[in-house]
Structures are given as structure tokens and as C-alpha cells.
């Protein structure tokens, strides 16, 4: 049966969950708990937080994230291709060339539309 192949995965999940629960429980039961206002802030050792988090962010951050994603995906595809370059031969070369052209159109589009300019 197929389900039996997944049994180790299930064991692992159960053990992981139990272990996590165990340590959390130990911390709660044995650890001293002295609650202060500073400890309740999101970043105890960081800058003091101020204002609501529901405010508007510059759209530039999203632009950078999207541009990053394009290149990230590109690398994901390029690495295995580069490793197997000889075996794939000319077919692989032209397939990648086509992929690259499509990617470059996207990059030029980004560029022309000013997504790469911060100000």
C-alpha cells in the first residue's frame, strides 16, 4: 500500500511536534516568569516601536521584490542547465536562449518603466 511509504514521514512529524511541545512546556513550567512592559514589545532589544503597523508602504519595495523574484527564478533555471550544458547540447542552448529573450524583454520593460530607479 502507498500509505506505508509515508509512515516514516508521519513518525518524523509526530516526533517533531512532540519535541517542540515538550520544550515549550518545560519552559513554561520551570522557567521564571517576570513580565515587564519592555519584554512585551515586539523587538525587545531593538528600536522602540511606535505607531500602527497599518500604514502605507512605498510601492518601490514591491517593485524591488518582484524584480528580485524574476532573477531568482532565472537562477533556479540557469544552474541546473549550466551543470548539464554538455549533455543538453544545442537543443538546450536554444531553449535557454528563448527563455532568456523572454526574460530580457521583462527586464527592459522594468527598466523603461522606471522600476529600477529608487527616487
Amino acid at each position: 500500500m502507498v500509505a506505508e511509504q509515508y509512515l516514516p514521514v508521519m513518525y518524523l512529524s509526530v516526533i517533531a511536534l512532540a519535541l517542540g511541545a515538550f520544550f515549550t512546556l518545560v519552559g513554561i513550567l520551570l522557567g521564571p516568569s517576570r513580565d515587564t512592559a519592555v519584554k512585551r514589545t515586539p523587538f525587545e532589544s531593538g528600536m522602540p516601536s511606535e505607531g500602527s503597523e497599518f500604514r502605507r508602504y512605498g510601492v518601490r519595495f514591491y517593485m524591488v521584490a518582484l524584480t528580485f523574484l524574476i532573477f531568482d527564478v532565472e537562477i533556479v533555471f540557469f544552474y541546473p542547465w549550466a551543470v548539464r550544458f554538455r549533455e543538453l547540447g544545442f537543443y538546450g542552448f536554444w531553449a535557454m536562449a528563448l527563455f532568456f529573450v523572454i526574460l530580457v524583454v521583462g527586464l527592459v520593460y522594468d527598466w523603461k518603466k522606471g522600476a529600477l530607479e529608487w527616487e
Binding site: 547540447g89 537543443y91 518603466k113
Partner: protein
């Protein structure tokens, strides 16, 4: 291990490839083009659609399959592809002035339409779950962006965000369903799934039922079947009107196409089970869609609910199954594309940048101000109602007749009763245009002429009348083109 592609592989996706490539060419022109006048891009897009249609036409009758059978250019895919190309061409025609008037200088609009069209064609021509999914995503992502095209407009933004969130959710359901189906049958290829489902040990696996259920939910969202229809009116009302016209016909047709392929070609052996579920969904969809359309004062919302009701009628045919019914689906999809795009084209033509005419009140006495335009609207409304000599009648007749032939008498009765209900809100448009006097707040005014819009309205009206008076030719082609689907199952 070596990979090679044969000529058949390239040929099988040629029409889609043309659209994707031309979409990118449009983008490049957009980047280096001058100013905010995007009309040339519109004509370039029309040309691309024409070339793609020609390629699709040349594929007909050759039975080409590509990519190890993942893509097939069977008659079903070709006929549906032609419908998509036609709808998108009509949408391009109605968009030209709309974008120009509102100063929307985004040439990407046309690129996105071309991508969406290619995605839809990929969806109906693929015979494995993954490729169907990829086609659906190309379509969906383009549609989300199209909805939010008017950046400064809050309604447009709301529409895009709602559509995106619910669409992403639906995609999740669909993907889960496909994964479970793959888990149960061991394949993503529809013919292999069909073979696996015939074995009793596979059919006893509950995973297959969860998979089927989730796929139905996913497609239910995409084609707005009750109870997954809640997003439709808000999205349709907020989106730019040409985009609404697009969303309410073409992606639904693509969704139905892919659903039909999965259910008949892949899960044909489970017909008794899924047809029971869809029976209830069809009855609900028709009734709820019509009941809510009755209460709308905004014509865009009315047409949104009416599109839900029409999806219900089409679902009746899917429940009934068989050549005549599924042929009826293809017939109805084309008929609906004409009448729906036509009605929206009239709305767009009547609106000006100063004033959108989207409520019934705006059309008081319109029949005496713009007789020809009002007459075209009458044709579309009568066709949506299903009055004889229009395409809507021929389509409904075929669907309900074949449902009765298959023994689904009650479903046909529910459908007919719903058609009677729909008379009220479709004819309300005609009553407003011809029997009510214009008021001071809603003064009628003549439209600003626009050749592409006139062409779109005229083509839609002629299409509706042609299919209504001479339905036989297209019907025979539709019935013939679904035969290959049923051969295996």
C-alpha cells in the same frame, strides 16, 4: 537522456505562441512608443488575433498532438479557440475609445488581452492537468491586472483585489484537487486518468472523490457557479466596462471547456456521481442568478448576475452529457459571446468620459434619441431572454431539448421557469428605452460616433441574428467537434 522537439510539437502550440510572441511585441512597442495614444497597438493586436486564427484554422482536421500528447489540436480545442479569438477581437474593438477617452495610456492592456487569450486556448487544448493549470494561471493573472487597470479609481482597485484574492483561493482548491487526483490515479494525463478510474481498486480510493470535489469547487469559483459566485457582481461592477465584457464571456467559456475535458475525457467513468452534484449546482445557479438579477438597477451588475444564470443553463447541458448536449454548450458559448459582448458594447458606446451610463434610469427614452443603437440593444436583450429568431433561443432550445431527451425533465423545467423570470429584467431595458420619458437628471444625449464600436455592435447583432435564423450550420459543427471527446469515455 535527450530532449528534442518535433515539428508537430511546435505546430500544436503555434496559435498560442503567436499570441504570446505578439503580446511581447506589443509590450516592446509600448515601451518605446510615443505618448499615450495606444490605438496603433489595438490594431496590431487585432492583426495578431487574425494571424493566430488563421494558424488555428490551418490546424483543423489534422489531428496534431504535441509534447507527448499534452497538447492536442482536436476540433473541440479549435472551435473553442475560435470563440476566444472572436471575443477578444470584439473586446479590443470596444476598448479603443474607452481607453482613449479615459486617458488610460496603458498599452499593456492589449498585451494582457493577448496573453489571456493564449492562456485560454492553452487551457482547452491541453489534455493534462498541469498544462490546463498553467493555461488557467496565464488567463487569471492577466485578468487580475486588467481589472485594476484604472489606477486612480477605487472601484477598479477593489475589483482587482477581490478578484485576485478569491481567484488565488480558487486556484488553491483546484490545485489540491488535481494533486489528489494524481495521487489516486498516478497520472496527470487525462487518458491515463480515464484508464485508471475504470479499475475498481482506484475507484474505491476516497482520494479520488476529494480530488473531484475540489476540482469542481475550483472551477465553480472560476466560472461563478452558485454557491461560489459571491465575487462576481463586485468584480464586474468595479472593473473597466470592456474588461467586464471580457470577463463575463471568454474566461467562462474557457473554464467550461477545461471542465468538460476533465469531466468527460478524464473522469467519464464517474459521470453518474458528478452529474448528480452538478444537477443541484445547475438548478441553484440558474435560480439564484436570476433572482438576484431581478433586483439590480445597475446594468453592469444585472449583466453580472445574468452571466451567472447563463452559466447555470450551460451547466444543464453538461449534466445531461452526450454529443447533442455538449455540442449545445459550444453553440451556447458562441451565442452568449455575441449577445453579451454586444450588450456591453452598447453600454460603452453610450457612455462618455463625463458620464457613465450604467443604470436603467440613464436609458429613459433612449429609443427615440439613438434609434439604431437602441434597436441593437433590443436584439441583445431579446437574445439573452431567449426569444425565437435570436441566437439565445436556438442555444436554449438545443440545451433544454437534449436535456429532456436524456431524461432530465425537471432540470429543463427549472431552466425554462428561470427563463420566464429573466424576461422581467431583460425586457425592463426595452421598456425603459421606449416607454419612459427622459427626466431632467437623466437627459438623453446622442453618442459620440466611433467606428470600432459601431463595428463591434453591428458584428455582434449580426452574429446574434445569424445564429438565431440559421443555427443549423454552427450547431452541426459544434456537435461534430465534441465527438472526439466522447470517443474514449
Amino acid at each position: 537522456m535527450s530532449f528534442t522537439l518535433s515539428a508537430a510539437d511546435f505546430l500544436s502550440v503555434l496559435p498560442e505562441s503567436i499570441l504570446f510572441a505578439m503580446g511581447m511585441v506589443v509590450l516592446v512597442f509600448e515601451m518605446f512608443g510615443t505618448g499615450r495614444d495606444t490605438r496603433n497597438l489595438a490594431y496590431l493586436s487585432l492583426l495578431s488575433l487574425l494571424v493566430s486564427g488563421f494558424a488555428l484554422h490551418r490546424l483543423a482536421g489534422r489531428g496534431i498532438t504535441g509534447f507527448g500528447g499534452s497538447i492536442t489540436a482536436d476540433p473541440f480545442a479549435i472551435v473553442l479557440g475560435m470563440i476566444f479569438l472572436l471575443v477578444v477581437a470584439l473586446i479590443v474593438l470596444v476598448s479603443i475609445r474607452y481607453l482613449h477617452d479615459r486617458g488610460v495610456g496603458h498599452g499593456e492592456y492589449y498585451a494582457l488581452l493577448l496573453f489571456a487569450c493564449g492562456g485560454m486556448m492553452l487551457m482547452v487544448s491541453s489534455t493534462d492537468l498541469l498544462t490546463i493549470f498553467i493555461g488557467l494561471e496565464i488567463l487569471s493573472i492577466s485578468s487580475y491586472v486588467l481589472c485594476g487597470l484604472i489606477q486612480g479609481d477605487l472601484r477598479s482597485n477593489e475589483s482587482a483585489l477581490k478578484y485576485f484574492l478569491l481567484g488565488a483561493f480558487a486556484t488553491g482548491f483546484l490545485l489540491y484537487g488535481m494533486v489528489l487526483l494524481y495521487g489516486a490515479t498516478g497520472s496527470i494525463r487525462l487518458p491515463e486518468i480515464a484508464a485508471a478510474v475504470n479499475r475498481s481498486e482506484v475507484r474505491g480510493n476516497p482520494m479520488i472523490w476529494y480530488g473531484l470535489g475540489l476540482i469542481l469547487v475550483g472551477f465553480g469559483f472560476k466560472i461563478a457557479l452558485v454557491p461560489f459566485h459571491m465575487w462576481t457582481p463586485d468584480v464586474y461592477e468595479g472593473a473597466p466596462t470592456p474588461v467586464t465584457a471580457f470577463l463575463s464571456s471568454a474566461p467562462k467559456a474557457a473554464g467550461f471547456g477545461a471542465l468538460i475535458r476533465i469531466l468527460t475525457e478524464g473522469l467519464g467513468a464517474l459521470t453518474p456521481e458528478w452529474s448528480q452534484v452538478l444537477w443541484v449546482v445547475a438548478a441553484l445557479t440558474m435560480t439564484v442568478g436570476n433572482a438576484l438579477a431581478l433586483q439590480q438597477d445597475n446594468i453592469k451588475r444585472m449583466l453580472a448576475y445574468s452571466s451567472i444564470a447563463h452559466a447555470g443553463y450551460i451547466l444543464v447541458a453538461l449534466v445531461a452529457g452526450g454529443r447533442d448536449s455538449l455540442g449545445g454548450v459550444l453553440f451556447y458559448l458562441l451565442a452568449y459571446a455575441f449577445m453579451n459582448s454586444g450588450a456591453f458594447a452598447v453600454l460603452i458606446l453610450a457612455s462618455s468620459p463625463v458620464r457613465e451610463r450604467v443604470t436603467f434610469e440613464d436609458y429613459r427614452g433612449y429609443g427615440y434619441v439613438e434609434p439604431a443603437l437602441a434597436l441593437a440593444m433590443v436584439v441583445f436583450m431579446l437574445s439573452l431572454t431567449g426569444i425565437p429568431l435570436t441566437a439565445g433561443f436556438a442555444g436554449k432550445f438545443q440545451i433544454f431539448k437534449s436535456a429532456i431527451d436524456k431524461g432530465y425533465v425537471w432540470l429543463a423545467v427549472i431552466g425554462l421557469l428561470n427563463s420566464v423570470v429573466s424576461v422581467y429584467y431583460y425586457l425592463r431595458m426595452i421598456v425603459v428605452m421606449y416607454m419612459q420619458r427622459p427626466t431632467a437628471e437623466h437627459p438623453p444625449e446622442r453618442v459620440v460616433p466611433s467606428v470600432p464600436l459601431y463595428v463591434a455592435v453591428a458584428a455582434s447583432a449580426l452574429g446574434v441574428l445569424y445564429l438565431g435564423v440559421f443555427p443549423a450550420g454552427w450547431l452541426e459543427l459544434s456537435v461534430r467537434s465534441v465527438t472526439s471527446l466522447l470517443a474514449g469515455g
